[in-house]
Amino acid sequence: MSEPAKTKAQLDEEFAALYRTHMRDLYSYAYYRIGNHHDAEDLVEQTFLQAYRHFERAQRESDGRPLRPWLLRIAHNLAANHYRYRSRRPQTSLEESGPVAALHSTEELVSGRDELARVLEGVKRLPDDRREALIMRFALGMDNREIARALGRTDGATKVLLHRAIKQLESLVALAEAGA
């Protein structure tokens, strides 16, 4: 037997709880993905607005599974559109359109620690999908299955993606160390 439909007030309350729970994760993802606070805030806001429209269906179809990968999937798609949109505007400066143009205060945090700075620099240079997988694993603490759901991949493909991301990052950091 199907459950009775929830009232709007119930749904709103549950949605408020959802965004209170995941606001920091979404913001961390957006920040490391986009590279500046202004656009990260915008991305988080757009993600929650879009999530709100489809929340009832997502709840129904999630079958009790956590909704964090679903939120990140929305953010992931919006971030991809963000770069597509920017790449169609030639008047935008390279610095603005480049991925993770300025990696924020973490850079200030890691100043004086060359190793960390080199790792962050390496993360910036990774292809988008590898960078995203690393952000989800290390900034958000997601496991392979959650990352797979967020990126729309299989668990196996996600494991390979993470492995390759770490290998590539090691090479980039080693190159930077050699050049230093």
């Binding site: 709007k8 709103d12 949605f15 408020a16 965004y19 209170r20 606001m23 920091r24 994760d25 979404l26 913001y27 961390s28 920040y31 490391y32 606070h37 990260a40 805030e41 988080v44 806001e45 929650f48 607005l49 709100y52 924020h104 973490t106 945090l109 890691v110 190793e115 960390l116 790792v119 962050l120 993360v123 690393l134 952000i135 694993r137 290390f138 900034a139 958000l140 770490i166 290998k167 990052l169 090691e170 950091v173 080693a174 160390e177």
Partner: protein, 102 residues
Amino acid sequence: MSGPGNVESLLREALSPVEPPADLASRVTSRLQSISDHAADELENWELAAMRDPRNWLRPALALLGGGAAGAGLVLLRLHQRQRRDAESGSEAAHAGDGDAH
């Protein structure tokens, strides 16, 4: 650098979670609230506007007529059934009376 384990621990340190600005949650809340209010207003206005437009009266009128016709049909059917039942029980009584007479 000494290997994957080291990169992973450095990554954990470098990619530390970032706190969102304090007012972001309240901004999202008020944005959602305004969307919700706007949608409710739109619906109310749309319903009122729809009621004022005579082109939209046809469907409820047809529904009313259809409902009325179906109701009348049901009443007639019931009456017809009752008449048949009365007639049948009358003729059975008559037959029974005939049997008693013989």
